[in-house]
């Protein structure tokens, strides 16, 4: 009996010793990401997810945030507002996240009132509807919005390319409608004439009727704002003999360089990964190039980690309100580009690019 009691005591002591010798792992910091992981917007959403995952791996590899790992809870919005709201409530109420990285204008606008009410920081690295500018004090846009980009392209095509007649093809979504309105207003103000405007439905890849109808009004260029189906769009433009050059914003970046895109122009938000980081990304994911969504979501995740780090350094609790306050206090961030937050929308450099002989080059250089 004595022997067995002794054994139990020894075993207990050993067990305690084993656990005591183990370093206590600090609790991970969890943030949320609500992306279109299925549905027509999945091509964008999956690229965004890669950007986040790559940044998280890099952050955790270099010791995490103040010794704590960063973890991301992903939920699928399919690019839809209702699913975005469900995911937001789930992440905030069940997963307890205080910061969320969003995607697509519709879901982000829908989440905005909830972000205000629940004081959760929502970072928006890609959606561009103008409504996002003042959607919520807690919605922070890390890229310029539609009106900012449209003003750059309108300025270029009217002053440099001397364009006076333009058609519009836009997606029937928050971002598409805002782009149409911004372009119409600014192009007309610059003395231009809009010959036709034709919507396409989100998820629809048959652009041919819209292309035919707009081309029939003989515009010099066609302003296009679609957030998915770019490859199908470019294929179908290539099948229309004599279709005018396309002008667009960042949304069209993925189709720039397509065989049918010679002469196309678009605005591009300036930013680039460090060469060694870009090389690592390409090797890891076996891709030829780091696209806009990879880059921006990588950048926003790094920015969020920096803000969380600052909050922890100040001995504050990681709450949405503290994160927001810290972000605006820091104001300037150096990541893939210089981001300055004087308002809820980052001030960033926007360039005009053009496809010349299949290559995307700065438009100024092509003149």
């Amino acid at each position: 009996m004595k022997k067995s009691i002794l054994s139990v005591i020894c075993a207990s002591a050993l067990t305690v010793g084993v656990f005591a010798a183990r370093p206590v792992l600090a609790e991970a910091i969890t943030v949320g990401a609500i992306l279109p992981l299925t549905g027509p917007g999945a091509v964008v959403g999956l690229a965004e997810q890669r950007g986040i995952e790559f940044a998280v791996a890099e952050i955790n590899k270099s010791g995490g945030i103040d010794g704590r790992n960063l973890e991301v809870v992903y939920d699928d919005s399919q690019g839809k507002a209702d699913l975005g709201i469900l995911a937001f409530n789930k992440q905030v109420d069940l997963d307890g996240v205080q910061a969320i990285i969003g995607a697509y204008s519709g879901p982000t606008i829908a989440m905005a009132p909830l972000a205000t009410r629940k004081k959760v920081l929502v970072l928006n690295p890609a959606a561009q509807s103008d409504k996002l500018a003042k959607a919520s004090p807690f919605v922070v846009n890390t890229i310029p919005l539609t009106s900012d980009e449209v003003s750059v392209i309108v300025d270029y095509i009217t002053k440099q390319a001397k364009i006076t007649k333009a058609g519009i093809i836009y997606e029937n979504s928050a971002a598409g409608i805002d782009s149409r309105d911004d372009f119409t207003k600014q192009f007309k103000a610059a003395g231009g004439q809009v010959t036709a405007e034709e919507p396409v439905q989100f998820g629809d890849t048959n652009f041919r009727p819209a292309l035919l109808k707009v081309a029939d009004t003989a515009p010099q260029v066609v302003f296009v704002c679609i957030t998915q189906g770019h490859s199908s769009f470019a294929d179908q433009v290539g099948q229309q003999a004599g279709f005018p050059p396309v002008v667009a914003t960042t949304y069209m970046t993925v189709a720039m360089g397509h065989p049918a895109s010679n002469g196309w122009m678009n605005t591009s938000i300036r930013g680039a990964l460090k060469p060694e980081v870009e090389a690592e990304f390409k090797t890891l994911y076996k891709v030829d190039a780091v696209n806009f969504f990879h880059r921006e979501y990588y950048n926003s995740t790094k920015l969020l980690a920096e803000v969380i780090g600052n909050v922890l350094k100040n001995g504050q609790e990681v709450t949405g309100a503290n994160l927001r306050e810290s972000l605006f206090k820091t104001r300037e961030f150096d990541g893939i580009a210089k981001l300055v937050f004087d308002t809820n929308t980052a001030d960033r450099q926007v360039d005009v690019m053009k496809v010349v002989d299949g290559k995307v080059v700065p438009a100024e250089a092509s003149n």
Partner: protein
């Protein structure tokens, strides 16, 4: 010229729509099941063809294999879902919900197995065009037209001039009588599902060959196709096909006077108006 181009493109889309409609009608008329999972088979057809092409199978053979795969899935749905529900006395509404469940499952299986992204066939000639006077059509559009007409003629011949086609009609006309006269309706149902599913693989492949593949687009095509089924006279193959072409032309030509976002609304509004004045459809049901 715009009007003429849109008119021709409308006819081509209508032909593809027509195949979806007459194959859906074939199942509905024979089994009495509102087979919405047909939209899932339409989608699956495209993805199977894409898969076979991606592993190096020539396009025509890929289409044949895809049709075979769709036929097998059609039979599986009949045997594993519809037949057990009917055997247990499931009401038509239960069958409809089950069919809807199969559709959603098929769409998601396709998204998981292949990708939720928009996929394009890796065929160089896919983006080539053919000009006939002032009309410019893509090669897939021309193929859609010819293959669609071919499938229509084959179904028309099958329905009216073959013994099996007449057996299908007999089963559709009176299930009870078919049962006691040893026409084996359950076997006929499986055959009909197989034929309809194989045939719908053709537009299921041709449309995405032109516009890209997506897992969730089949349902809207099927909804419009159902209008053709009802307005064309249920079971009337030629009537359904004709109305489908009219709908395709209407949706395209309407673009010359209304914005593209309203064409579907226009189509359904006209259908409601037609049903109010002529609920039996434009052509006689068979």
């Amino acid at each position: 010229m715009l009007l003429f181009q849109l008119f021709v493109e409308g006819i081509i889309y209508g032909i593809a729509l027509g195949i979806v409609a007459i194959t859906f009608a074939m199942v509905y008329r024979t089994t009495g099941i509102f087979h919405v999972a047909h939209a899932g088979i339409l989608t699956l057809g495209g993805y199977l063809s894409w898969y076979f092409v991606s592993i190096g199978v020539p396009f025509v053979l890929a289409l044949v294999l895809s049709a075979g795969g769709c036929a097998a899935v059609g039979v599986l749905i009949q045997k594993a879902v519809y037949e057990p529900i009917e055997r247990r006395g499931g009401a038509p509404l239960i069958l409809l919900i089950a069919s809807l469940g199969v559709l959603i499952s098929l769409q998601n299986i396709v998204a998981i197995l292949f990708s939720p992204n928009i996929l394009q066939f890796d065929l160089e000639w896919r983006t080539s065009t053919i000009a006939a006077g002032p009309i410019h059509l893509s090669t897939p559009q021309v193929l859609t037209a010819f293959s669609g007409i071919g499938v229509f003629l084959a179904i028309f011949y099958f329905s009216n001039h073959t013994l099996l086609g007449k057996r299908v009609k007999a089963v559709a006309a009176n299930k009870f009588l078919a049962d006691i006269t040893r026409l084996q309706p359950k076997r006929v149902y499986a055959i009909v599902l197989a034929i309809a599913s194989a045939c719908v693989a053709v537009p299921g492949t041709m449309l995405p060959l032109d516009q890209g593949l997506q897992p969730y687009t089949g349902i809207l095509i099927l909804l419009v196709a159902k209008i053709a089924v009802l307005a064309g006279g249920i079971g009337n193959v030629a009537g359904t096909f004709t109305v489908a072409i009219m709908l395709g032309v209407l949706q395209n030509v309407a673009l010359t006077f209304i914005s593209g976002q309203w064409t579907i609304a226009l189509t359904f509004s006209l259908f409601v108006a037609l049903m109010l004045f002529k609920p039996t459809g434009l052509f006689r049901a068979q």
